[in-house]
Amino acid sequence: MKLKEAAKKEERLTGGHRLCSGCGAGTVARLVMRASDNPAVVGCATGCLEVSTTIYPYTAWEDSFIHNAFENVGATISGVESAYRSLKKQGKMDEDFDFIAIGGDGGTYDIGFQSLSGAMERGHDMVYLCYDNGAYMNTGIQRSSATPKGANTTTSPAGEVIPGKQQYRKELTDIMAAHNIPYVAQASPFKPQDLMKKAKKAFEVDGPAFINVLAPCPRGWRSKAEEGIELTKIAADTCFWPLYEIEDGEWKLNYKPKNKKSITEWLEPQGRFKHLFQEENEALVEEIQEHVDQRWNTILNRCGEL
């Protein structure tokens, strides 16, 4: 879909929401909703996007919207979808609807994980979108299982005792692929057409679909607001955040950087990794680089690029 053409469709997330200036979640949600051709039922797990887009008595959504607790957006939307299917079967309804659950990494990787896993396993015709900014940004930057190793957060503070988060992040996209659902994708907002294409596939596929999208957070990443989208490009160029999709079990790579960049280019512009550039943490950066390389090779292998 050309951007010019996409722009002719109506906006589904209006301005006037109160996400921070430069927040990636707004961009991601807007682009994904563009790909839907039907009226939608949107549910958000507790998180930045949820609280900022629907501050009472305002809503920035042009579709039906359901608030959720942190852990249950997967369950809510799967329930709505089931009710809809039943009403359709009974002949009480005939319009087409899209169903989408949205969560941040906290509401998806951690707290909302069981309801997401259940909804996918039961095979509901719904989309789950995770905007991954790598920590609980809404409550003040606490580490989540999506936080990259070495990142400074309020619950993994870099100092004399530890150099930021001590664990690697969980590969949720792989876990979702292991659910053997028809469509799983990892995307990034710096490629808006790719993101919309993936969202379109996710909406159109018959059955559950999961999209994991990297979303810059200037507050939590301690980066400049205007550089957010550029950072998501660097994430892809350093292979920290590869873009790929899994369609009916078939892995496909969507972006191969011409020159794979060193991980330091991803770490350096972000204040949350500032301490990694002190002398005593040199080995840690090397270790992170090795981990990224390994992961990249695994993906190349699975996508048949090796």
Partner: protein, 94 residues
């Protein structure tokens, strides 16, 4: 829409918001410290700024992004200016 001073009888049951997209009437333009200025001569209409804007504030009309910037909602993050491939957008102090 519920207004300050409304009593509980004025609020829809369940605290529902009955009007979609009414956040449009909430102006976030005041958050801005710098405003994007679009040079319509330089613009190549690639729509990247439109796609990247988190606040839906780069307006496109009939496939033409040269329409306007919505200063009522633009928070001045500067992504549009930073990402513009031909530097057609400049950030100016408010």
């Amino acid at each position: 829409m519920v207004k300050p001073g409304d009593g509980y009888k004025d609020i829809p049951k369940g605290g529902l918001i009955l009007e979609v997209g009414n956040a449009k009437s909430y102006k976030t333009g005041g958050w801005r410290t710098e405003r994007p200025i679009l040079d319509k001569e330089e613009c190549i209409n690639c729509h990247l700024c439109w796609a990247f804007c988190p606040d839906s504030s780069v307006l496109s009309e009939d496939g033409d992004v040269k329409a306007e910037i919505d200063y009522d909602h633009c928070k001045g993050c500067g992504i549009c200016a930073y990402e513009c491939p031909v530097n057609a957008i400049e950030m100016e102090k408010e």
